[in-house]
Symmetry: C2
Subunit: 411 residues, 2 copies
Amino acid sequence: MDHVTGCRCVRCGAHYHAYPNTTTCLCGGMLDVEYDYDYVRSHMTRTALEARPHDMWRYRELLPIEPDTPAPPLRVGWTPLYRADELASRLGLKSLYVKDDGLNPTASLKDRASAMAVAKASEAGASVIACSSTGNAASSLAGNAAAAGFETYIFVPSRAPQGKVAQLMIFGAHVISVEGTYEDTFALSAQAIEKYGWYNRNAAINPYLAEGKKTVSLEIAEQMGWRVPDYVAVSVGDGCTIAGVWKGFRDLYETGYINRLPRLISVQAQGCCPLNRSLHTGEPWTPMEENTLADSIAVGVPRNADKALQAVRASNGIAVEVSDQEILEAMALLGRTQGVFGEPAGVAATAGVKKAVEQGLIERDATVVTIVTGNGLKDVQSGIRAAGAPMSVTPDMDSLLAAFDKAGLHP
Amino acid sequence: MDHVTGCRCVRCGAHYHAYPNTTTCLCGGMLDVEYDYDYVRSHMTRTALEARPHDMWRYRELLPIEPDTPAPPLRVGWTPLYRADELASRLGLKSLYVKDDGLNPTASLKDRASAMAVAKASEAGASVIACSSTGNAASSLAGNAAAAGFETYIFVPSRAPQGKVAQLMIFGAHVISVEGTYEDTFALSAQAIEKYGWYNRNAAINPYLAEGKKTVSLEIAEQMGWRVPDYVAVSVGDGCTIAGVWKGFRDLYETGYINRLPRLISVQAQGCCPLNRSLHTGEPWTPMEENTLADSIAVGVPRNADKALQAVRASNGIAVEVSDQEILEAMALLGRTQGVFGEPAGVAATAGVKKAVEQGLIERDATVVTIVTGNGLKDVQSGIRAAGAPMSVTPDMDSLLAAFDKAGLHP
C-alpha cells in the first residue's frame, strides 16, 4: 500500500507497519491508520472521482487496502443525503441534512466497517471472520462476508433479541449463543479467535474498521459539493463511528478537498453516556450501566473511548444527552417530516440536534448534518412505541366514520 | 406531456387523454400509458442518460410526468443488481443476477409506484393521497408522501405484519386497520376515496403506478450494459409489478435500447395462484383463497389480472408455483450465498427460478434475473422460521468445542 504510511497508537504514539491483520498497540491503545496525503492528493483528483462507481470504494486512495484488492460484492455506501427543510423549520434551524445510512445493504452504517473487514480478511488470506456483537456489527459482518464467500463465527450473548439472531442465521453465520454476559461472550470469542486464527472483526481490536466508517464523511462532503457543514451530529456508543466520522473530514482537510472542519455533536443516551460525561467533566471516562432502549449505543464500557474523545475535543465539539422519550419522539419526527425510519440509536443524533438548538448550544443559522446510523425496521417494537397504534375498524363506512370522529380527523 | 400520447384500455382498446387523475376505462379495464417513442428516442439518448442522477427519474422521457414536475424527495431506484455466481451454481444455472429492490427507501419495489403517485398527485393539485394495501404499497406511499409534504389515509387488512404497520405510523399516515380480507379493505378504501376525493394510489385504479414500477426493468437493462437476460423472474400477487416489468422492457425495445425481449417467469404461491392457474389452463382467472405466508403476494382477487396475463403471455412466459417451505428455503439460500435478506414474497421469485431449473422449464445455460421485491426486515418472524436456531454454549472452550462437534463443524 503505497498510500498508507503505517499505523500509530492513539495512546502512546508508537508506530507500526500496516499488515492486514494488525491489531492494537502493545500498550493496549487503538491504532490509527496514517496516509501519504501527497500521494492521495495527486491520485484521487476530482476528475478521477467523477468516473467512479457510487459506493464507499470510490475513495480508494483514502482506504487502507491494496490497489488490487477487489471491492466486496455488496454495494455499501453512497446512501442518500437529504436536505430536510421541513424538519429544519420544526427544529428552528436554517439548514439541516439527513444522511440515511439505514439504506446500506444490511441496513446500518456498520456495513462500511464490515465491508472493510471483508477486504482486509481477503488480503490476510483468511477464509473465516469472527466477531462478538449483539447487533449491527454482527449482521453486517454476516451479510458482507456471505456475499464474498467467507465463513463467519459470531458470538452473541443469549439475551440477544430473536430478530437480530434471525438475520445472522439467514446470512448463514455460525452463531454461538453464549449463556453469560457480553463480557463473557467477548472473552470466549477472543479465545476462539486466538485458537483458530480467524480474522478478527472486533471493533475493539481492528484499526481498519474506523477507516471504513469514515467513508460516511467523505460522502457527506462530496454530496454537499465539498462544502463543509458547521456541525455533524453522531449517535455515540462504543466510539468507533464518531472517530471514523472525524477521520473522514480530517483526511479531506489534509488533502485539500475541504478548507475547514465541522464541529462534532456527540449524542449519547442519558441512561448510558460514559463518553459524554467525560467530555463534560474533563475527567477520564468511567463505566456506566446500560439503561436505554437505544440498544446499539447502549455501551457502558466503550472500546474506542480514546479515539472518540480525541475526535470530539479536536473538533471543538459538543456533547448532548437525550432521554429515551426524546429518542422516540425523534423517530416519529424524522418519519413524518422526511420519510426516514431510523432505529432508536440511529435517530438519537437527531434528538440531540433538537436539544442542542433548544438549549442554544448551536446557532439557528448553522448548517447541520445528522447521520441516521441504522434502519428502524431492525427494531419494530420501538417503532410501535414511538408511533402508536392504527385505527381499527370493521369493513363499513359507519365504522370508519366513527373511527375518524374518535381520532378527531375531519378529512 | 409531449412524450405521452394518451392511455389505452387493455381490455377494450378505448383511448383516453392522460390527465393526472385519469383512472380506469368506462368498461372497467385498466389503462396503459402510451408514449411517442420517436420523441423518447431523440431525447433520452445514452449520452443524456450518462449525466443524470442514479434514481428512477433518470428515465424521465419514459415516465408519464410533465417535464417540470419535480422528482419527489426520497431517492427511489437504482438499487443494486448483483451477479450471483454462487447462487447460480447451486441452482445449476450458468448466469444469475439478483436485483435487490429491498434497498429502496422504505425497503420495497413499491417505492417506485408510490413515488410516481406522489408526482402525479402533485400534478393533480391534491394534498391527500389514499390507498389500500397488504403492506408495502402502503408503507412506500406513507414514506414518499411524508417526505413530499402530503397527508395520507391508508387502509390495511388487520393481518398486515407489525413491521409494516409500524412503518406507516412512523411516517405519520392515518392508518385504518380493517378487520377483514384484502378484498374488504379495498372496497372500504374505494368508498372513502370516492367520498372525500383523495388522490387514489390503488394499483387497481391508477394507470401510472405500473409506469413507476417499470423503472426496475429499465435499470436492469442499463446495469447489464443493455444486454437482455433470457428470463426475468417476478413474484406475482395483484399483477401490477409483473405488468410494469414487462412494460419497461417493451419500452426499451420500442426505443431501440434493446434488440430483444426477455421471457417472464410468473411466480405465485401454491396457496394463492389465481393468475398462474389461468396461465396454465388458458381459462379466465377465478378468485382463490389466500393461503400463504408470503403476505405481499397473498392476493386472491388480483386487480391487475388483465395486464399481468397479457404480459406473461406476450413474453412467451412461464408460470411456476412454490410452496411456503420452498419460499423459506429461498430466503436462507439468498442470504447465505448473496447476503441478501428478502421477505417471503420478495424471494418467491428466486424459489420459482430454482423450481423452474429443476423441472427443466428453463435452460441451464440461460441468463436469469430474479427481482427481490421487499426486505426481509419487514417480516422477521418468517426469517426466524427460515433460518433455524443458533448453537447454545456456556462461556468456556469445552462447551464451545462440544457444540462445534455436535454441529459437525471443524473450524
